[in-house]
Symmetry: C2
Subunit: 278 residues, 2 copies
């Protein structure tokens, strides 16, 4: 079996975003980590869908089959075909096997198993909510300040729901996605509407995070760290404002920047001047 990388790459450049700093706003090109969806068929039977960075796909599939105890070595594999175009991996094994079905939601994915077809079109959100850069910086500072577990223990993600002024609900978990489900559940229990609110998180924005966001009717998502390219694509499709890399008084807006209200539009003396094509 040949081990080759084909033409797959892990990064995609050329994502256009608008960077806001105290010196103003400017359009920049920023690369994003790639996230792609691959369906694994074993002996003709659809088993699981990987959401992963599409490098070393043969290695990923073989390692997964080893980890799950499906194969013991290369001798068990008759065919391993990775079809770039269709996002499909076809594995034929020497023996007929029964695929495991018991599901464990790991801390990594938490409630990340969505059963949703990613290609299913959620209707775009229609919301007139806006934020100023000053609000974003303030809310993210609040998130960092109030993440209790993070401050004392580390190794945990913190997310919050905000109305633009305060953090209404905060949740922490080893699983990024669990934080969003905890927020949604607590809002249900406390009768707090989630639509037309803001989600802030310390975790990476991947496709599942965006799926949970759109289901909550949240039109603005803010993260301290990087979005994947698929998250950006879904945000664009669903009309969600995706803000990444909020560090101190800098932030990068990837989609729907009409929801960013600049200071002179609000009368705030924030000192943000528009540069370039604001």
């Amino acid at each position: 079996m040949a081990f080759e990388e084909a033409s797959m790459r892990g990064a995609r450049d050329g994502l256009i975003c608008t960077r806001y700093t105290e010196r103003g706003a400017q359009t920049i090109h920023r690369p994003a980590i790639r996230e792609a969806s691959w369906v694994l068929y074993v002996n003709g039977q659809e088993w699981v869908t990987f959401l992963c960075t599409p490098t070393k796909m043969q290695a990923l599939v073989l390692g997964f089959l080893l980890s799950e105890g499906i194969i013991e070595g290369l001798d068990d594999v008759l065919l391993l075909r990775v079809c770039d175009e269709e996002g499909m991996i076809d594995v034929r094994l020497k023996e007929e096997i029964t695929l495991p079905t018991r599901q464990i939601l790991t801390s990594g994915c938490g409630a990340g198993i969505t059963f949703d077809d990613l290609s299913q079109i959620h209707p775009p959100l229609d919301s007139s909510l806006t934020v100023t850069p000053a609000q974003v910086f303030h809310l993210m500072a609040e998130l960092n300040r109030r993440g209790e577990l993070y401050r004392t223990v580390g190794g945990v993600h913190t997310s919050a729901l905000s109305d633009g002024q305060d953090l209404l609900v905060i949740a922490e978990d080893v699983g990024r996605h669990n934080t969003l489900d905890k927020i949604r559940g607590e809002c249900l229990l406390r009768g707090i509407p989630t639509a037309d609110r803001i989600i802030l998180t310390t975790g990476r924005l991947s496709s599942e995070m965006m799926t949970k966001t759109v289901k909550m009717g949240v039109p603005i998502v803010i993260s301290r760290t990087a979005p994947t390219d698929l998250a950006v694509e879904l945000a664009r499709r669903w009309g969600i404002t995706l803000i990444g890399y909020v560090r101190g008084r800098r932030m990068d807006v990837y989609t729907d920047r009409h929801r960013i209200r600049l200071p002179w539009e609000t009368g705030q003396a924030e000192g943000l001047r528009a540069a370039g094509e604001s």
Copy 2:
């Protein structure tokens, strides 16, 4: 339905570890983020197992049921019982429903669905492999230097397999667990044994990361960041040396520190002196 936190906490203190710095080794108590396993039963039927931080469990379960489209509101729920002792959540719904079974391995968990019973005892690893602190610092610096996607794009995890001298295989992915499966698969393809080697990773060590590690026969696992309490417990059970928080020339060893060889045992002029009860 009452919304209460019961006595559950997200952090556990009192984990003893040995911290190595250039000034020597000392025993410290360090808190760890909690990770626990909860089985969700819906209408008497076992559905999924959460690996999560055990706070706001009611909220987590309700949010998950909402996200998955199983419920639309509290009216659909007759009973929600969280049993701390048994790690079990019992949900009764008004309507009979068919639970989704299609599996998506999210970028968060990658191949993190293990189907393994976590309580299943893997036999402890028997390995005479050792490392010096200097080796650990050197290998982690190499990992950071050679993580190409991380350096150029960010938002990605990097892991590597090492023989103690060099990084033999490197993998990057948006999913922590995918990196380990990619390494294992590439080793299979290239005929590289994984037993008695070292795994280094930029990602958090959670239970699934340890499960993948023990299956590869790897007795030393090194991370830049925090382990969960469950990861530490599994490492202890399986005889794996778990090293966390490697930052510059500092590292914390949580388990099996007999595999840490100090400089005077190797003749290296590393300048590490043992303090406390090394």
